[in-house]
Amino acid sequence: MSLSKCLEILTKYFPSFLLGIRTTLIVAILGTLIGLIIGLFIGGIRAVKLDKTASKSVYIIKKIIDIITKIYIEVFRGTPMMVQAVFIYYLVYTNIFKWDKMFAAIFIISINTGAYMAEIIRSGIQAVDPGQNEAARSLGMSSSQTMMNVILPQAIKNAFPAIGNELIVNIKDSSVLMIISITELMFQSNSIAGTTYRFTETYFVTAMIYLFLTSISSFILHLIEKRLNNTKTSFPQSDTNIHSIVIASKGE
């Protein structure tokens, strides 16, 4: 393998690589975002514990939802995305409608990521101190108000490193989607290697590009994480102690 040959391939086939990068990023980023939305929804539902006052029918509905979501998570975490991709793509293509490959790719990576995200969000929610839930409920807030305003914002913050990890994983693992021949980076590399017969050099360039993409992503994610953890604080001008506590009597 010669580095100069690598450079030659990179410069000669740069537009092809660029198209691959573009497709990979679109699929990975959209898939992660849609997966996050699926995860928020399913993880949120799974983390809800019913009030003791909930009626029998609500209890049964919740139980059914729990079982369905559990099956979804187990199936999509327990089978390879490559298998999911070919199966779902051809299932829909031959039986329902002739869908666009790009659309299919985003769909597949989204539901696959959603299964992981659901568990990430659920554990993020469960990591929030239950006392805050009790406090919110004791003020008369409903369970959904409590979830949206108090629990979820903290759960997302807790889970952010794991959520970011999913993006990195998706940038790399979207390579298996070449099986349905979308023009992502791995698919492009295969064609370039096939044209040049320089397999080692081509895939070395491919590996470097993936490494570059994931490094940039983790750098950006790291910046966002730092921002999230940087809670604003105020610096009080005066020191307040018990002697300055004045309580106005009621009605005044």
Binding site: Q132, N149, V150, T231, K232, T240, I245
Partner: protein, 241 residues
């Protein structure tokens, strides 16, 4: 007039009997302090009044309604504030927003009005300068004062305190007790679970002494502290004071 009537309440966690036949009353404007050894069921009783736990048998009547038959729990809870041992402030928002959130979501106030109420309540507990601080920058005593202000913002009829000073450093206990004392002077109806005997003696209209899920003795502070009838009460007090 009794604001809270507890009638023959029983509760178990699995096979562990926590409350066996508890009855007592809280009158409007009264401060009732519940004392007794750890594990005697005081906190559980308090949590039952706010429906954080449900009871197995008996009745809890608050503001004239049997609370275990209430459909709209949230409407009931806004009348009954609760202050917790671990403060339980919302860590994702500043002190002001902690006090504003429930006013906007539950009482449907507009944000400006809610903020004014919050600032008023926060200045009453001596934290006017801290409204933009986040909970993780406050001391324990300050956090608990925010929690009290947050409960007061809902303008409750009754306030429940679950060991409000047990998680505090000794030098911070005073500031929180001061705030509660001031509320007592304003005739706020309060039920306080506490281990601060001197405070209970000072502030309470009635003391309830619980042990092992039953009320062994109840009466005025003078009666309980100076002239306890029950041997167990005497032993408990002699160990603590």
């Amino acid at each position: 007039m009794a604001l809270i009537e507890i009638k023959n309440v029983k509760k178990s966690f699995e096979t562990n009997k926590v409350l066996s036949d508890i009855s007592f009353e809280v009158n409007k404007g009264d401060v009732v302090c519940m004392i007794g050894p750890s594990g005697s069921g005081k906190s559980t009783m308090l949590r039952c009044i706010n429906l954080l736990e449900d009871i197995d048998e008996g009745q809890i009547i608050v503001l004239g309604q049997d609370i275990n038959k209430i459909k709209d729990i949230n409407a009931y809870r806004k009348n009954v504030g609760m202050v917790f041992q671990q403060f339980n402030l919302f860590n994702n928002m500043n002190v002001l927003d902690n006090c504003v959130l429930a006013q906007v979501k539950v009482l449907k106030k507009d944000k400006n009005e809610a903020e004014q109420v919050a600032i008023q309540r926060l200045s009453e507990v001596g934290l006017k300068d801290f409204i933009y601080a986040f909970p993780n920058t406050l001391s324990g005593g300050q956090k608990q004062r925010v929690a009290i202000a947050r409960a007061l913002c809902m303008d409750p009829e009754i306030l429940l305190f679950d060991e409000p000073t047990s998680a505090l450093d000794p030098q911070m206990v005073g500031e929180v007790l001061n705030v509660i004392k001031n509320l007592a002077d304003q005739d706020m109806t309060m039920v306080i679970v506490t281990h601060e005997m001197a405070f209970a003696k000072d502030v309470a209209d009635k003391i309830v002494f619980m042990d092992d899920g039953i009320i062994l003795e109840e009466g005025s502070p003078d009666q309980i502290f100076n002239n306890p009838k029950n041997e167990r009460t005497r032993q408990f007090l002699s160990r603590i004071i």
